[in-house]
Symmetry: C2
Subunit: 462 residues, 2 copies
Amino acid sequence: MQKIVIIGAGAGGMAVASRAKRLNNSLNVTVLEKTNYASFALCGIPYYIGNIVKELDDLLFYPPEEFTKRGIDLKFGKEVTEVDVENKTLRFRDLKTGKEETISWDKLVLATGAKSKVSKIWPEINNAKNIFYITHLDSGEIIRNYALNLGKGKKAIIIGSGYVGLELIENLINLGLKVTVIEALNQILPRMLDPDLAGIVEDYLKTKGVEIIKNSPVESFEIQNNLAVKVKTSNGNFDGDMFVIGIGIEPNNDLAKQMKLNLGNSGGVIVNEKLLTNNPDVYAVGDVTEHKDLITGKYVWRPFAQIANKMGYIAGSNIGGMEAEFRGSVGTSALKAFDIIIARTGLSKAEAEKLGFKPIEASMNAGIRAHYIPGGENKIYLKIVADNKTGKLLGAQAIGPGESVFWRVNVIASLLTIKGTIWDLFNSDIGYQPTLSPAWDPLIIASRLLMRDLGEKPPSSL
Amino acid sequence: MQKIVIIGAGAGGMAVASRAKRLNNSLNVTVLEKTNYASFALCGIPYYIGNIVKELDDLLFYPPEEFTKRGIDLKFGKEVTEVDVENKTLRFRDLKTGKEETISWDKLVLATGAKSKVSKIWPEINNAKNIFYITHLDSGEIIRNYALNLGKGKKAIIIGSGYVGLELIENLINLGLKVTVIEALNQILPRMLDPDLAGIVEDYLKTKGVEIIKNSPVESFEIQNNLAVKVKTSNGNFDGDMFVIGIGIEPNNDLAKQMKLNLGNSGGVIVNEKLLTNNPDVYAVGDVTEHKDLITGKYVWRPFAQIANKMGYIAGSNIGGMEAEFRGSVGTSALKAFDIIIARTGLSKAEAEKLGFKPIEASMNAGIRAHYIPGGENKIYLKIVADNKTGKLLGAQAIGPGESVFWRVNVIASLLTIKGTIWDLFNSDIGYQPTLSPAWDPLIIASRLLMRDLGEKPPSSL
């Protein structure tokens, strides 16, 4: 009976376990998890903090019993301390009893996720009861309780304006706090949006009462009686009653290093289309890995749940005996801030230039519904980038009200996945219904703008 | 100076005029229109009837002056009676004065749209003041006024349960009427949805107080004192205070026939990728044409505004001197009925079978948001069809709450346009954000179901 051991019970790890066991019930599948949760959704934590999700258990995709029912041996509170790749064994410690144990494996799956490096950057935060960062489900509970106890009108400072930082804003304001965001760079969402689009989001957030401090890398925290009172930046100091750090995660690669697996620039484990590492008996999935970007062919670190899930499923299929492949991703991400949606996929124009493309860009502000439908004044800011030589789409960014903003970007993401061109976009038969879209959808208008340079049919040289 | 004459000032015709003139300002562009409207949106009429759109002029994309400003000679109230393709002239009549005139042309564009054939089917409707059908913007005004004068609680009977019929329901109910829908076949939306999905929509409409009569082809109307009192069907007679016919349109091809242009099965003019007819000096765009379906390669009639717009733009480019191509469509359409969205693209499984494919289908009812987000119980009914031999996607149908239903179908439409496969769909990097989508989007779950038969990577034989 083949022994499969999976380290880490997040969404990716549990997807491997379930899929492999379903395809081959004779497999002996063990999952070792440090915490007491399995199959959890960290992306939901901002909404748990904001009291929109009431119970922490709601964030689990399945209750742990479900996995037992599937014949998976799921062990909580176990920390793997050492992997012996020569002898195919590993050693783990029970976090309550301290007892150590060694087990053997035939195939190993690393699903150790990401970890925070903030206490390495600012060691003083270990001495403060009111500086928080999200590492696990429990973090959500601790942050919500602290915010609720503080009471209305107190000041929360969010460090970093990435996905986590921005989604925390709305939720902390929902709890009655005043919110200040501190960003090291000269725009919010620096990895997601172009500066001009980021400026539109900044203006919007200000109308919601959010204070945004840019160009202010955090240097340290001032701590008195185990409470931070101030964050010090290169650009001034800011008082607060609680501090949430929304930056500074990295692949949780300690075991990977010890196992001498090939790592990428981010420290993530390099995996191939089967999700195998350079060790043919070791798979890796989820936030601990780097995988291929489908536009550039380069390895990237993208700690996103939808990617972890797909990786887990495909690794599970390969382990379960069905050949399967995960090609990679194009970098689609989205967030909601109050009533606007922000989404992006692929490369920005500036990123494309750095990578050696000669990009062209359509940038527009267009109606998302027929002009005569009330609410039809709702507009999307949309940018689409393409390669000037081949007409291939390279990326998109969008901001606006409602789900259609997210989905227009998803249409581009799908086309990017199969190397679609601006002519493919023009000819894409996006439906039309007055309450849902204008007869000229912004996506198609963008393709027209992009065809200005390259012509309205593919050049015969292509 | 080249003379371009366009017959018909709907969205397609005016798109040709604007595009050609913009690319080559030296062109002499004349548009002849029978009515007094240009650049109108018939799709908005149900919402004008329902008083959601207040003014008829709101349904115009541009006011007529805009076209004059662009240097286009737009003539209203002119009916073209004869085209002489040998001598490149045409004859038109002023509908007010009756005066006839002949002009010459170098390139002619047929944009005559669609027409209703219902008065041919049921000639008695010409004698009834309370039987309506939508042919032009004015129809909207007449229907709304009649319904408002009838008063609340009176009974409207809608003949046909296609797009127009279904979108009228909500709007007539908004005006306070009771609504009965009469459908000849054994399901509503017979050209759009599979019977099981149609059944779900029927049950939903019943909860809104709509009466649905199926299997009842209309035979005739009983008319007393210029008012219809009853519609007679093979399955019984139904009393009503007003009757709106939502079926029975066909390509408005009288001139096309006279010009001996090649017509397809529907009577639509066959056009190529440049939008040229079999006469190298005659273009045709919009609802009067048939164009290629990108899945089957067969000519189809799809009288949809987004297609007319694209055709107009591409014909205008070709006339204006820029080579351009419209590849075709895949048959994407959508409608809104109260709070649900219904959308489809491509082929149903039954249609695919009839066309000789060996289709497989994923059919599911899945959450459209993360399960823990309130409102996350909202679910989409989704079917995706693919070819069992090649793994190519063939079509999709969906019903559910909110815009994402429409956009999920649009993602499939885009993939269909470039002959994407089930593996392309699995690898499509659809973003994830808890309030917008679940970590396993229904689209990706569907791809997993489809891969069951064909494997989780493309067979090496492909």
